[in-house]
């Protein structure tokens, strides 16, 4: 495993704390922080269960906090865009395709993630939305960002594992023979 700076590890530790928080609330344990100038300025954790909205991933939670905060502070859209371009995201699991697309719309500077997301990942696993060229249309839509995976991946995975070991109380009960399992 590549060595990461102590700063990087400290920030990912904050994201892990968020994931642990999610676990306590019986949510899939994924957490994140958004960082500007080395300081965590927003955090988020998965809230899909509580909201019954499967799009309420940790990243979306943290983004909403910043958008609200910055507008309360009176920042214009252009200033907010500028801010996002100076921010880094630390998230325990590779952003899914939805979140990676959102980060690319916002124009975030960089992403550090823990474990890869082989089924949904939008930063290399399934799609590579972080690699979009940013040359055309400065604010036209999607932009690329730098992406570093494998930061404290084993911690992220072990949280997910404990989620399954305690059982997911939210899962619908099986109601059919598991005939399709072979195809899953």
């Amino acid at each position: 495993m590549a060595s990461h700076s102590t700063d990087t590890l400290a920030l990912m530790e904050l994201a892990i704390q968020q994931a642990k928080d999610a676990l306590q609330f019986l949510e899939v344990p994924v957490g994140c922080v958004i960082v500007q100038d080395g300081k965590a300025i927003a955090s988020g954790r998965n809230r899909t269960s509580e909201t019954r909205n499967a799009t309420r991933h940790a990243e979306m939670e943290a983004i909403d906090i910043l958008l609200e905060q910055w507008q309360r502070d009176g920042l214009s859209e252009l200033e907010i865009a500028e801010k996002f371009s100076q921010c880094s995201l630390y998230v325990t699991c590779e952003p899914c395709i939805m979140c990676a697309a959102a980060l690319s719309i916002l124009g975030i500077k960089e992403v550090y993630y823990g474990c890869a997301n082989d089924k949904f990942g939008g930063c290399g696993s399934i799609l590579s939305l972080h690699l979009q060229s940013s040359s055309e249309q400065p604010h036209g839509g999607a932009k690329g960002f730098t992406c570093t995976g494998g930061v404290m991946a084993s911690e992220a995975v072990s949280l997910l594992r404990s989620f399954y070991e305690q059982g997911n109380p939210n899962a619908p009960k099986p109601h059919r023979p598991l005939a399709r399992q072979a195809t899953d």
Binding site: T51, I97, L106, N117, I126, P138
Partner: protein, 443 residues
């Protein structure tokens, strides 16, 4: 059926529903082919020869290939050719042709030549049209069942068209600016579950994260056009400040096409914030989730194993006792009743996320929105206009064909008999032009 056409008898307008498959059509020149022997035949011998050929040299693995090709030639006549048999791997080896075919060739004085036919049956109408240029094939559009989705009856088609019209009306309702609109529908009873327009300029943040659920419900009630509530409630857009160049600005506000441009010249209001990710589909999902919490408050946490749960498990952890995967996508009524008797709560009446629901969007959703609809387990997506810049259902990406995802919806484009509102140019083209024109002005 791949394509459903319904004519309006009064106006003669044709609406069409076209499936957007998970895989793009294979260009004709890239389709695998096989060599066959064919020969021109006299039209009056066609029946006899074909009957005989089908007996002695049936085209076992080429059932999609037509035995006879009819070509129009000069003078209004047509020329017939028939496939005799497969050619050998090794070209020009006439001696591998079955003896009885050789006899037939001799007795009717045929002059065999080698030609190519497509090896596999076409999987779409486009592919089929390409195949026929080589040698005619037959095409049987699947009477299909994509994740339990049946083809469209006349009645279903009419329902699709009327919900699409509803979505278009919503999209036009935001003063002079056209935005995207999303309508989530339960097709089993044709009820609207949620509807929303882009809300890039009209975000009402929940008061705090702690009281999030309350905030969302209030918001949902004010935004949602539940079957019993007024449709007008969806129009919460602040008025734009009277653009002089109405036409030029018309399409730049469609978030999935143009997330940043849509926010330009945002009117400042005290209660509404700006949020570049509040695209119509995202808002509609939020509204439907809020409605769910509102209607089934007692269920607490039940119902979300959605997102990454089981998939993360299989991705990251090789668990000896994999949790049984459940798939509510294909739940039938009987199953629901079984569930109902087993579990005492009313979960049976409540769909899991948006399982079984359809969504109608005016524009093809962007990648973020398309993936959000995977997460929320939408069954079918209908859209009217493609999104060549950012569309994720065929234009730029094709999420319905991403095998690794845990859920796959079926995607359909609804072709309108008219364009909105100009002729000759598609909206996307206009939006694209407009965007380029405006990109310069933005800074």
């Amino acid at each position: 059926m791949e394509e459903t056409v319904v004519m309006n008898e009064e106006t003669g307008e044709a609406w069409r529903i076209v499936n957007i498959p998970g895989k793009p059509p294979i260009p004709t020149d890239q389709q695998p082919t096989v060599n066959v022997y064919a020969s021109m035949i006299e039209p009056n011998l066609a029946n006899t020869l074909i009957r005989r050929l089908n007996q002695i040299a049936p085209l076992e693995n080429l059932r999609h290939v037509k035995r006879i090709r009819k070509k129009a030639v000069e003078g209004g006549k047509s020329q017939l050719s028939a496939i005799l048999c497969l050619a050998c791997e090794d070209e020009n080896q006439w001696n591998c042709v079955p003896e009885n075919v050789q006899e037939l060739v001799n007795s009717y004085q045929l002059s065999p030549f080698i030609t190519q036919v497509c090896k596999y049956a076409a999987s779409s109408k486009e592919e089929w049209e390409g195949q026929c240029k080589l040698w005619p094939t037959s095409y049987h559009p699947p009477t299909y069942n994509i994740n339990g989705v049946m083809g469209f009856s006349e009645e279903d088609s009419q329902s699709v068209f009327s919900f699409m019209k509803f979505a278009i009306e919503l999209a036009k309702s935001s003063e002079e600016r056209l935005v995207n609109a999303a309508v989530i529908v339960d097709p089993s009873n044709r009820q609207i579950i949620a509807s929303a327009c882009d809300q890039i300029n009209s975000w009402l943040p929940p008061e705090s994260n702690a009281s999030m659920s309350n905030g969302c419900i209030e918001q949902a009630e004010s935004l949602c056009s539940h079957p019993k509530s007024s449709q007008v409630a969806t129009n919460v857009f602040p008025l734009s400040n009277g653009s002089s160049d109405k036409f030029r600005k018309l399409y730049t506000n469609v978030s999935c096409l143009n997330p940043w441009r849509s926010s330009e010249q945002r009117p400042r209001t005290s209660s509404c914030y700006w949020h570049p990710l509040r695209h119509a589909a995202i808002v509609a999902i939020e509204v439907s989730a809020a409605m769910d919490r509102h209607l089934f408050p007692a269920l607490g946490h039940i119902g979300d194993e959605c997102y990454d749960v089981e998939d993360m498990q299989s991705s990251f952890i090789t668990s000896p006792a994999k949790r049984p995967k459940t798939n509510l996508t294909n739940v039938e009524k009987e199953d629901k009743q079984v569930l109902h008797t087993k579990d005492s709560c009313s979960i049976s009446e409540r769909p899991y996320l948006c399982t079984g629901y359809d969504i109608f969007l005016v524009w093809e959703p962007c990648t973020m929105c398309a993936m959000a609809l995977v997460h929320q387990r939408i069954r079918r997506i209908f859209y009217a206009f493609p999104n060549p810049k950012a569309g994720a259902l065929g234009s730029v990406h094709r999420l319905q064909g991403e095998k690794s995802l845990n859920h796959h919806y079926a995607v359909f484009r609804v072709l309108l008999p008219y364009e909105l509102p100009t002729k000759g140019e598609t909206l996307a083209e206009i939006a694209d032009k407009d965007k380029r024109a405006n990109a310069l002005q933005f800074h």
